[in-house]
């Protein structure tokens, strides 16, 4: 009788252990095939050119936006900044970069002021119109100017996904617009080098 009780207990332990083995489910789409994220060398808000390669060993959170963006960009950057708060010390292993899709108006200084408003560790980068167009194409990002108000000037419709590049420079995760800070932090925590 005692033996049966132990076997039942063992069965329960096995079931609980198997449930614990449930793999982590990301909030975005995972790219299984390691493919190098398109590299770039663009002017940052620090006054220095930065390349994607400079951040090998860290996770890179990449976002295409612009400083005159009225809603989508601030909403996304607030969530990423919130994720950095949740990560705490581990946030040092993550570099967030916003690539401007508005190189005409977004000077490095304007970008610096803008991204620092969300998190001082964020980098804003820009380049020539051609450089940005090429890079956006390769990252699957569409953007196009359209008329705004007198106060905002022209506005830019753009893809609002957030991309995460792993410590080896491979594009690994694509997060849709609307992913919360907690969800981003959870995914990043799982990917930390």
């Amino acid at each position: 009788m005692k033996k049966i009780a132990w076997l039942v207990l063992l069965g329960v332990i096995l079931i609980v252990a198997a449930a614990g083995c449930r793999p982590y489910t990301f909030h975005g789409t995972v790219m299984q095939n390691p493919s190098g994220a398109p590299d770039f060398e663009l002017m940052s808000n620090t006054g220095q050119k930065v390349a994607l390669d400079d951040f090998r060993g860290k996770l890179v959170v990449l976002y295409f936006g612009y400083t005159f963006c009225p809603d989508v960009c601030p909403a996304t950057l607030v969530e990423i900044a919130g994720a950095m708060d949740i990560l705490g010390e581990d946030a040092k292993k993550v570099q967030t970069i916003m690539i401007s899709v508005d190189p005409l108006r977004d000077t490095p200084e304007a970008l610096g002021e803008y991204v620092a408003h969300f998190d001082p560790s964020f980098l804003g980068v820009t380049g020539t119109e051609e450089e940005v167009a090429q890079l956006a194409t390769l990252y699957g990002v569409f953007y196009e100017k359209h008329e705004g108000t007198a106060a905002t000037g022209y506005l830019i419709d753009h893809t609002a996904t957030v991309m995460v590049i792993d410590e080896n420079g491979d594009l690994k995760l694509i997060l849709p617009f609307g992913t919360t800070a907690a969800e981003i932090a959870e995914d990043l925590e799982h990917m930390l080098p």
Partner: protein, 225 residues
């Protein structure tokens, strides 16, 4: 007690390793690989309307590449394959997932919307499914077709264009899920249609706990042939 726990541990390991092995061998779930991001673009279609990759988000899109002046049998075969697929789409059970077909021409100077519209009509393209489009700026077009879709083309001195035949299947997330790069054979259409079915199954079924099986299929590279 100690021995019993040890047996339990061994049993658990056998279950986990055996399960993973069986999954890889028997492949109860098959998927298409997530190859890379499809390029972002803004094109003009045969009706002179704007067509962007964002317009196609949430649906499966099959791309092909051609130019209307092409008299090579390969170009004709590309259009024929697209036509076969178009004709089968209505009968295909993809749930409520819409499908689009886009043929991108690499000759924007000649292939104006008027020319594209005439070409679309001549090959029997149903405008509900199949669009023809291009980008006027040759360097942007090169980024999209050559860079993003990794499809080689080159303008020759005699005015012809050397073009590698290709079809590219993109999912609703804007991720390339299938590339078909060999010389066009009639079987291409069967394979592409079958792959659309595999993709639709993944989209419809990978919710809740079932998503783990689909992620495992990606992890173990259980790719549909």
């Amino acid at each position: 007690m100690k021995r019993l726990l040890l047996y339990g541990f061994y049993t658990l390991m056998i279950v986990v390793v055996g399960g993973a092995f069986a999954f890889k061998v028997f492949q109860p779930v098959q998927v298409l690989p997530r190859v890379r991001l499809a390029p972002g673009f803004s094109m003009i279609n045969e009706n002179g309307e704007r067509l962007t990759n964002e317009d196609l988000r949430g649906q499966f899109t099959l791309y092909s590449f051609t130019y209307t002046r092409c008299d090579d049998p390969t170009c004709l075969a590309l259009d024929e394959t697209m036509l076969v697929i178009q004709d089968q789409l209505a009968a295909l059970d993809l749930g409520d997932i819409p499908v689009s077909m886009v043929t991108i021409t690499v000759d924007p100077e000649y292939d104006t919307p008027e020319i594209l519209l005439a070409h679309a009509e001549s090959v029997g393209a149903d405008p509900d499914y199949w669009q023809f489009a291009t980008i006027a700026d040759p360097s942007l077009l090169k980024y999209v077709v050559g860079g993003g879709f990794e499809t080689y083309y080159e303008h020759m001195d005699d005015g012809r264009i050397r073009l590698d035949p290709a079809f590219v299947l993109v999912d609703g997330w804007g991720i390339i899920r299938g590339e078909y790069r060999y010389q066009t054979l009639s079987s291409d259409s069967d394979r592409i249609i079958r792959h659309m079915g595999v993709l639709a199954e993944e989209v419809q079924n990978s919710v809740g706990s079932a998503s783990i099986a689909y992620e495992a299929a990606h992890y173990f590279l259980c790719y549909a042939p």
